[in-house]
Amino acid sequence: MARRRPFSLRRLASASVPYLLVAPVVVAIGAILGYPLYRLVTLSFQRYGLPELIQRQGDWIGLDNYRSVLGDSLFWDVLLRTVIFTVANVGLTMALGTLIALLLVQLSAPVRVLLTTGLVLVWAMPAVVAVQVWYWMTNFQNGVLNHILTQLHVGDFFQHDWYASPLSQLSMVTLLIVWGAIPFVAVATYAGLAQVPRELVEAAHMDGAGPVRVFRDVTFPTIKPILLILTSLSIIWDFGVFAQPYLLIGASHMNESNYLMGVYVYLEGYAHSDFGRGAAISVLMLLIVAALSVVYVRRMVRVEEPA
């Protein structure tokens, strides 16, 4: 039990440092997002469609929105589909991204510059542009993907329709998202690898450890915090992704058999102008993704605490 320390301005100033450092962020976020977050929650308990929006007055209906959504079998179908989709996307992104980061260390300088420039080029593509280019490459009429596959004698892909079935559609979306997400994971992990203490690696080499042991005992612990945050972020983003599926599969191809949660909340809530229901689905999405990522988040928050 610490002795009661005498009050002094110096101690007060010292104790208040972290709060002052955090204050600007709190103020910035609070001023802009405070009311919308509050409003989102209150909307989820109201019937609030277009007429209510125009009259600025909604009816309080308690948990009815939630009941309606949770009682809709479509919601559960979409949820299951999205969970599987998220696992596939996050798994591929993290695995490939980390491998590329490790590869970058092994490359000679010119090739490293080339590859990182390539990564940034991919990263720099806006999602809306990437979708159009991807669609253009895979289009039915004269897509270059069909051309390449036919030329490589993988089969006759002349005018193969990649958007004919939900599985095919979602696979295309997965390819697009993983492609777009790898650069950030690779670059961030590579930056983290730069923090790996060289002398420890050399010590391990001199002890006769192979590359896998070095990775497991020296490299991985150092980049663990970064991998944790990247995985958490990937889960969060891939679960709620909207632009890529909606634009790549196409608004006119969206139907109940290929909805993902991000598209579902947009169509059921906002395209229908049913804002109360949309808010309820948004809150549910928040709770679900929190549950999905809780393992990583807890590790992030608890294990890596300051001294």
Partner: protein, 290 residues
Amino acid sequence: MSSVSAAPAPRRRRRGGLLRRRAWDLVGLALFVVLVFPVFWMISTAFKPDDEINALTPTWITTSPTLDHFRDAMARPYFWDTVQNTLIVVGVAVSASIVLAFLAAVALAKYRFTGSRLFVVLMLGILMLPPVGLIIPLYVVLARYGLTNALTGVILTYLTFTLPFAVLTLRSFILGIPRELEEAAMVDGSSRLGAFVRILLPLVAPGLVATSVFAFITAWNEYIFASVILTDQANHTTTVWLSYFLGTSRNVDWGALMAASTLTAIPVIAFFLLVQRRIAFGLTSGAVRG
């Protein structure tokens, strides 16, 4: 990220040597080709004449390149205004975001204080919300401040959405720095914060740059909030401007769209090339200290 001078010391490469390096290089090159192909396709299409773009059999690189699509793209209304707007929005949002986030990340990583865990959870919570749910309430808030159809409104929006991500990522980077280095510096007699800023800041530089690049790209590529907040074309950012190529019920000019996309990606590349030297600095200083 490239490091211009941080080639590892030769004695570390005694196993495998040159052949191994060449093999990895080949893998790297193959990976580059596969990853960058869509980008290549976009740029290649931008230079193709229309009949080649629509031809049933695609051509890899056109033999009769044309600058028409670039001209058409730049002739579209408000092209230069759009570029300027985006540079302002992204520049201010990212700079402010990184500075604020860094301060908060330092607090979270280096201090124990009540509410720190709650703060981290809150940051994650904001990230987990689907943005579409916040559009209309956010618009209402901005309307109340008189910030709709204004770049300031977009800047503030981007700030609030970049901050949670930046805070969490920077916190992880800072936590990844071995404590021995920090303690060694404190032996000097410098205060804790002083030691951190002077000695450890360079070590976090790679993380800072990775985060700023991501924040830059996210802000540069953001569409949905910018499109709802900004109604006047003179105030648009590049992604909103690009959507107009496809938003008409008339014909779509693919060549111009690809040219416009190419043009709007250039500043991001430029930004990356600018900052890659900073990372080299971070790497070498780490090697020297180590």
